[in-house]
Assembly symmetry: C2
Homo-oligomer: 406 residues x 2
């Protein structure tokens, strides 16, 4: 089928999401079946507001720098499409754009919500008999998409976290005095990112305790764990996911301080500060909280080559498969049982939409404060290799797109 | 003069302080004049408590990995020597160790306080007619040592900060909604680190506002600066040194919250959280605070080759000059007027001891919220180049020393 294509990015960015953009854009620009390649500004919102960039107007060299460029270069959104049954207005607008530009290929790069959006659009277009191939392209540092072995973006975030935790470990031992450090990772619903901190152990820098949201958090047990380690060696390095929660389901990060005056006050700091404060109050140790914050999803300078290559490949594969007739699918990554190799497949969009893949309980140790061999075997291949980086002045040279509206 | 040498590390670590260690240890092990090479555990404290490692027992390959290894591999201290006139006991202990091991060379790697320690030891040894060559080797990410153009450690921290700020900048633009981000750097007394964030502008990612401790901070003016930028473009990226202070000299980071209930409560978060909260309360913008924390001094994975090479060179130079007869000096780095080239010199220890070099006021803009061309010209050469890194499993391979006590 011949026609135009629209590519859009959605949800939180990753260090390599633009490698997928490059995979789609390059392949689409080269494909005889695709007449025009549009990039939507800010995901689905850009389609609904008619902000589409003509990717054929971009310089080929600048496009080739996309894999080195962090964040979502076209802009992203967190826009939840209503179901067409409840409110058809967005769908009518979108169909109007698709018809006007003869869009026959739609590629949406995102996480769970984005696959849901993709799914809704695909079903709507089918319901009105508008022929269009719709393919979802996975990404998320959280690595919580179902239907795929792992998600592009996770490997680079894991490499950043493991490397940073190794560096923090070394720093934590610099003085001969007691010190406790708490590192907070992202991952509100799944512990893939927190767990990846344990990989620092392969550099001789294992965190002592790792807490994932898959296990109910107990503050007393936590303090006991930390105290035992601190008393034994005057040092303790803790990694915790922002998503850890108490038995009643409330996030530890939402705890209010219980000040001595009896009033409750919201904390300015996040989870790391809250845990650091709890340790300090109950052990007297010198404690530091470190939140890896945006850096863990933006650190293109420490991307995994395996991840960057796969991120490109899923974009390229999406376009090739759509041209061959695939639609209503998400690209997924599978791995075999032997030496690590990624195989790309197509899965139903509905598999990923609105589901969350957790770390299996048996990949977390019995005490719920570390990960097992299975986790290492899973995650280690994903952080391998260092992509070539283009630098100018000792600083990253990012893609500079013209972003000319179509 | 023939005899043993002691090398020790002091003060806060840097990403390349172990490159200086390697420069000293390798050169000393190869020198005919030096009979034994000892590394002190935890700086001067290791000498006073007789914890000296025999560096000749280390594997040469492991030693060669020191430049890749962050933090102070021998351990550091923050121990302030009393003046010998007030309390001679530490000096007597130290002299006893020096005599027993025939120590004739002493190399101390640190910042202002360490140069003061060096100076006191050197004068004491002279006063008791114990011949020993004493050389201070500079290091500090804060870059605030007098007598040297810049300090080993600063270039790598600056490269980390500029690169991370560029990545944060990209992330800050990912959504089409308003967002303000505040990044906190180290540098309690001088703004070299905060200023280096401005280098991200060369990657097209300039922070909008940069605050250095050299300029008195005014919260109302700060809010006005942020508001003006935020209103114009819905985005604002701010970098501030942890050391910014009000006109009365009090650190902004020490502010107490003034909660609605009228009670004052100490903040858990640091400066970034305090500024973020102030912006949020007074503009209603979505704000995120990011503290670069220990990572800026430990990020060996993003070291500057220029910095790492100079860190090695100052260590090597210290040993060579001491063998040639120099004593009571600090190694310093000078640069000429043309293309960047580092020339090593020896300066009196007293020049660096307990002084602090500030960013010149005319390297900061008139409004006190950014740096000028002079700052760029100064800092840019120091972040150039990427050292080769040894990796295993996609993770840094750090030196593994045996640390055998002598």
């Amino acid at each position: 089928m011949t026609g135009s294509c629209i590519f859009a990015q959605s949800g939180g960015p990753t260090a390599v999401i633009n490698a997928s953009a490059y995979g789609v854009i390059k392949t689409a620009l080269e494909a005889a079946e695709i007449t025009n390649v549009y990039g939507a500004a800010n995901g689905i919102v850009g389609i609904l507001s008619d902000r589409l960039y003509d990717m054929s107007r971009e310089d080929a060299y600048e496009l080739s720098l996309l894999p080195n460029t962090p964040s979502s270069e076209l802009g992203s959104c967190r826009y939840k499409l209503k179901s067409a049954g409840d409110d058809e207005s967005d769908y009518i607008k979108l169909l109007d754009v698709f018809r006007r530009l003869d869009v026959r290929y739609f590629f949406y790069n995102g996480g769970n919500d984005s696959m849901d959006t993709c799914n809704k659009i695909s079903r709507y277009l089918q319901s009105v008999n508008y022929e269009c191939r719709v393919i979802g392209i996975p990404k998320t540092i959280d690595n919580d998409l179902c239907g795929t072995d792992h998600c592009p973006g996770f490997g680079s975030a894991a490499k950043y976290i493991a490397t940073s935790v190794a560096e923090i470990y070394k720093d934590n031992y610099v003085y001969d005095t007691g010190s406790v450090t708490v590192v907070e990772t992202m991952g509100r619903h799944a512990g893939w990112l927190a767990g990846s901190a344990a990989l620092a152990g392969l550099a001789g820098c294992a965190p002592d305790l790792v807490y994932l949201p898959e296990v109910v958090f107990d503050m007393d047990r936590f303090i006991a764990d930390v105290t035992a380690i601190y008393q034994a060696k005057k040092k303790c390095l803790i990694v915790a996911s922002e998503g850890i929660a108490y038995a009643d389901g409330s996030f530890v990060s939402e705890a209010k301080t219980s000040s001595t005056d009896g009033f409750n006050h919201a904390q300015l700091g996040g989870l790391a500060a809250i845990l650091a404060d709890a340790i300090k109050q109950r052990t007297g140790a010198k404690v530091r909280g470190i939140e890896l914050s945006l850096l863990q999803r933006a650190a293109a300078h420490l991307a995994s080559k395996t991840d960057a290559d796969e991120a490109f490949a899923v974009g390229e594969f999406a376009v090739r498969q759509a041209i061959s007739g695939a639609t209503d699918k998400m690209v997924a990554i599978q791995r075999g049982d032997g030496a690590y190799a990624a195989e790309l497949t197509l899965e139903p969009l509905s598999v990923a939409a609105n589901n969350e893949k957790k770390v299996p309980r048996n990949w977390i140790n019995a005490d719920g404060n570390g990960v097992t061999r299975e986790f290492f075997d899973y995650a280690l291949p994903l952080i391998q290799g260092e992509p070539e980086r283009v630098l100018e002045n000792g600083l990253p040279r990012y893609a500079r797109l013209k972003k000319i509206l179509a």
